[in-house]
Amino acid sequence: MRKKLELSFIVVLMFLVVVGCSSNNNNVTPVQSDNAGTVATSKPEESPAEPVKVELNVFMSYPQYKEQFEAYFDQFIAKELAEKNIAVTINTEMPNSDQAKQILQTRLASNDAPDLFTIHANDIPTYYNAGYLSDLADQPSINSLYEPIKKTVTFDGKVVVLPLESSTWGYLYNKKMFKELGLTPPNTLDEMKVVIEKLNTANIPPFQLAFQESWVPQLMTAQSLGGVVSSKHPDWITKMNAGEASYKDVEAIFDIIDLINANGTSKPFEVGNEAGAADFANGKSAMWVQGPWNADAILKVNADFEIGVAALPVSNDPKDTMINLSTSTSLALSSASKNKEVALDLLNYILDEKDSSVLFEQLKFNPISTVHQFKVNPWVEESSAYVAKGQAYQDLTLPNGVTDEQAKLLQSYYAKSVTKEEFISTMDKTWATAVKAAAK
């Protein structure tokens, strides 16, 4: 018995060694070094002899783009060494998106802020009021931004973050499938119902439902609330902030949401975002309330997929059907950074004249600045057409915590453990609490 165990132990050990050795060349990347979270302080100097050493901590919630960013940072390091004789080491932290917020907040609250970190543009007020952001005015990268995009990251008159992902989006649809069935993107709810019927007759679930990750169903409210408010209730947010309105005023958002929920794929809670992308790419559904940021995931599964982007109808007035213009993930410079100059160099390098286009193309991000000279993806052209016609609105800025609560409630709403009325009353309460908490 003992002999058998010993033998199996040796076998397993050998197995581990063989497997480990056949892939042992990446445990240490040249960029990262072991550190105890401390940041070296040294001003970059002109010294032809010994390069000045600077360490930067960069926190980004993009684990899926880890390789691309690390390669890009390598380029930056080479450039900084050549031009300024500074040897930079960059420690990148890329946690899962569902843990990123919590880790970042713990860091910031315990005075351990990374030099550069990503936040969602909607959270700008919260982080700004807490004093964690810096004014980025007059940075070359900021100056090169397109005006409408610059506006989305301006708060209190200052530009406080560098946008990274800026999108025009509504919902995605399978262009080939639509062509085959003779469908065109609907402009009203009634037209949408017709499209849904045709798809149901063809035995294709009209909508992809992937509710395992709560941010996905939340996109429905981002679209429906955005559409309803921007068209018929333009001062709703101001009124909500003053406690003079309620979600009941915008109850119409449920019209499209109910339609989507009732005509979607099955078992949505077992489908995460990536699984949803795979299903959508494989033609398991025709439409998906998602954004072009999923393009990469979709094309990875099916490179021949033709992505279409259309505006989501929220009522029977075609004028209400608009494209959402939003900046999501943005890069911030910590106000407490001890290496502001070098960190700013890196920040500006993100929109470097020469190299930025390649990066943004790789990540399939939209062009956001004049330095971007790459050909945009076809779906971007499609959504930009709406913008050109004036059929667009800026993504709504909701108080901190409201989107998270909407996300959770939508999951419960689909599971029928929360009614429409409960949704409305809970959201009203959450909004009020959020406003109170932010009033510091």
Partner: protein
């Protein structure tokens, strides 16, 4: 005649019962091993093979998933990190707790009783109550992000239970031993490490094993403490993989199996000590 029939009836009943029990246990064992078996089985299939038939044995063993899983969770590096953290924690816990538990057990009086109660109280505190403040303190002490800092955290968190176990065990060591050693000219400290500590070996082994398992499998604290993913424990690296490849099950399963491997090996080798330790730890406590 009747009595004999009765006896053989009972014998038959016993036999049938015994077989039924065995089958029940067998079924239970299958359920216990089922997830692990499924994980292992599907980790050596290609993604498409897995989608066609989950239960089947793969046509070809796709070991290819393993080297890539190895790389993705930085196996050796994560393993090393975990071992270092556990090492610091274990040594610290054993040294501090044995010293404290011994003396608290030997000394009577209010001070001793109050200190003991103070240590025990913490076993009830839910981790969430102290989470952020804990991280904040580590930042102020400049040990946040450090592997050794995390190890020290575990010392603080783990001494209570260890003191409790040492405290109880020491009672079984006769006081005469202490007195004899002192008469022979031992200092208090020498008495401890030369005479007492060796006798504490059984409970030390139990404590070592229980705490090793706890530290090894801990998730939330390392997640908050370790800023640099280079310092991630095996568990953390595996979890991070989920964010990157949430749909690539054959890859994920391979990394889950890899992450399980050290613990399973450890268990299979030391199971006798582990099981005894747990039983004793619970009964004495």
């Amino acid at each position: 005649m009747n009595k004999l029939e009765n006896a053989s009836d009972i014998q038959l009943g016993r036999r049938v019962g015994s077989v039924l029990i065995f089958l029940f246990l067998l079924l239970g064992a299958v359920v216990m091993l089922f997830p692990i078996y499924m994980g292992l089985l599907n980790s050596v299939k290609t993604q498409s093979e897995m989608l066609t038939n989950i239960l089947s044995f793969p046509k070809e063993l796709q070991w290819g998933n393993y080297p890539s899983a190895f790389k993705k969770i930085h196996f050796f590096r994560s393993l090393g990190n975990t071992i270092q953290i556990a090492g610091v924690g274990l040594i610290g816990i054993i040294v501090c707790a044995s010293l404290a538990g011994y003396k608290l057990s030997r000394t009577k009086g209010k001070l001793s009783a109050s200190l003991f109660a103070l240590f025990i109280l913490s076993m009830l505190i839910p981790f969430h109550s102290i989470m952020i403040t804990l991280v904040k303190i580590t930042k102020q002490l400049s040990i946040q992000g450090s592997i050794y800092g995390l190890g020290m955290l575990y010392i603080g968190l783990g001494v209570s239970m260890a003191i409790f176990l040492y405290h109880g065990f020491v009672k079984s060591i006769p006081r005469d031993l202490d007195e004899a050693a002192i008469i022979d000219g031992c200092s208090e400290f020498k008495l401890f490490y030369a005479v007492i500590f060796p006798l504490l070996l059984p409970v030390t082994a139990t404590i070592a094993i229980l705490n090793l398992l706890w530290i090894w499998n801990d998730f939330l604290l390392p997640l908050l403490m370790l800023t640099n993913s280079d310092h991630y424990t095996l568990l953390l690296s595996t979890n991070m993989l989920f964010g990157e490849y949430s749909n690539d099950w054959s890859n994920i399963l391979a990394s889950l199996i890899l992450a399980m491997l050290p613990v399973v090996i450890f268990y299979l080798f030391l199971q006798k000590y582990i099981l005894n330790g747990i039983a004793e730890g619970a009964i004495k406590g």
